[in-house]
Amino acid sequence: MSYTIALAGNPNCGKTTLFNALTGASQRVGNWPGVTIDKKVGKIRGTSSELVDLPGIYSMSPYSPEEIVSRNFIVNDKPDALINIVDATNLERNLFLTLQLIDMGTPMVVALNMMDMVQSSGDKIDVDGLSKDLGVPVIPISAAKKTGIDELVTKIEQVAGSKSRPVPIRYGSSFESAVSAAEKALEGKVPDDSIRFYAIKLLEGDDDVVEKAPGARNGIKSAIDAFEDEFDDSADSIVADSRYNKIAEIVGKNVKRAPRDEQGTLSDRVDRIVTNRWLGIPIFIGIMALIYFIAMYDSTWGTSPGAWATGWLNDWFEGFGEDVAGWCEENNVEPWLSGLLVDGIIGGVGAVLGFLPQMIILFLCLVILEEIGYMARVAFVMDRLFRYFGLSGKSFIPLLVGIGCGVPGVMASRTIESESDRRITAMSVTFMPCGAKLPVIAMIAGALFGGSVLVGLYSYILGIAVVILTGVVMKKLKKFSGTPAPFIMELPPYHSPRLFNVAKSVFDRAWAFVKKAATIILLSSILIWFLCSYDFGLNMVDIGDSILAWCGEGLKYVFMPLGWGDNWEFSVAAITGLVAKENLIATMGTLFSVEEISEEGEEIWEVLAYLLGKAGALSFLTFNLLCAPCFAAIGAMHRELRTWKSTGFAVLWQCFIAYLVSVIVFAVYGTIVGQEVGTLSYVLCIVNIAIIAYLVWAKDPFRQLNDSEEVKTE
């Protein structure tokens, strides 16, 4: 038989890991809450049943978008059975949702996850006793170690087939009298199977249920008043208290805890340091510095493994290009074909692929940090900083996701309840350096700063600073104003990284990088080669007379104050970065190959250093880190912001702030390192600082805009 089975549980209790174990899927598993944003579907292996993975929720109250998705699915789509995954190391909190699911009357099985951790801590859970008290089957499992999965599949199929509904849990005579009164008032208005769930929700005054059964709550007003008078509290508080008392009773009966160390667990002790009010952020900076040191450093203290491997691969591509050029000459290959292959394809794609070793090392370190549970601590540490500036700490989770790729990062913003916070986050996520920007960071760090870790750190700190700046400024716009949403986050215990997960995650990201180089970057490189080799009459010409030079010549004046000099190549590269940020490198690889600069004995990146200088390079990096993201990310922003007007505003803001900050960086850093900075850059720098200061400190910098908004609303 084929059944529809829903998978529900608290955030970060291992739902996605269990979903992958049950279906054989390879969905992203994150060691922080909010990885599952929407429901997802898969087939349970060895059966014809369908498994629906619901977002993690703490209760069946519709307070957040995830809770609404989960509640609507269970209530409206009526799955044949439910797997309620429960974190066995934290039964007290997880069982609150379990009790609500039991009230819904859907056949269900409780999957007691993380039993391996319970055993290693010395705690003991009486699984049979727990099953008896809850009135539903309980199966001990470890989703990560894939134990108990077969028993779970057998049991859920059995429960779905027999349609055996859970036995409702009773909370005391007064409570049950009030529920009976509510059930009578709801008869015929809600599905009979779930009437107990609706009745309790009616007592709590749940808006959805009150709306579904108009007049029902008023009809039982006397029963509710009596109920509230007896306990001297509001009905919703009494319901919650009753549930927690029942949970305490069930846990007290069935869980025997091993004596705990007074200092707490190892996780507690580590957390005391890494989440410390003063040490948290410096430790995060230190860890990121170490990662960039391993991946990129190439200076006084030697060459890091990442820099060495990247140097080797770049040399290989250069040699390969020369060999191919030699072969083409020997075999009388047409010059335009030889140019396309060597300068266009090998020059462009090779320039990007040369950074693969550094990317693998960076991906590896970031995945390990996520696997062990450190990234969740970073979100916790950043919450303090964000709240200080009036932003929600919940915004940091999408930013963390955005370090991998901006697209899922933007999508992750939908877990934020507050509309204004959600919109601000969606338009800020791409300020963080995503995977595609890492080769650009590596290129600038390698070409001008000896692979200094400071360039990597600068990129992250700049990203976070501009996110905060955006939040502070946007909050002054009426449509984005409001107090930040509360952020509740559970810190998962640290665990050693699982080799398979780490290897798979790194391979997936590295493979995606290679695939992108072999597809989008390849096609873009060919286009760039064509545009920089031909004129409008389609005659093969010198690069200076090409179509691209014509376009770039106009653009370069816009970017001159940023210290990019009289070189149109950098303006063109910034524009091609809209297709994919790696394209920046491919474009420069192609352009400098066509210009044959490297044949004069200089490496392409040395030429870059010569043309830009340190301050120009830092401003080039700054602009490309902050300006409009790739088209895929803009599309994702549009899906979250809903209108092209809002998306256009977000993209304009990103380009505006990128320009402002880049000019300041060039002028200030250029002065520090003694690079020549033009008068125009200095003037613009002062003007830009004044604009930013005004936006940050003025009480109502958007008065006119806000007033016109008010008029429209009226």
Partner: protein, 64 residues
Amino acid sequence: MSTGSLIVLAIIVLMVAAAIAHLVNNRRKGKNDCGCGCTKCSRCSGPNVDIEDCCRKDDRSGPA
């Protein structure tokens, strides 16, 4: 055109065709080319994900 030119032309045509086919195929499957490998991102993966559930379509079930 020399044999060498024909070989180079064939290699380039093959590479371009493979790249375009890959991109078109991804589009048809509803995957985008964001670089995270859409099938690996939090929202779009799973063996039975329908195009409706994937990146290109706005299917948010929650409130706006």
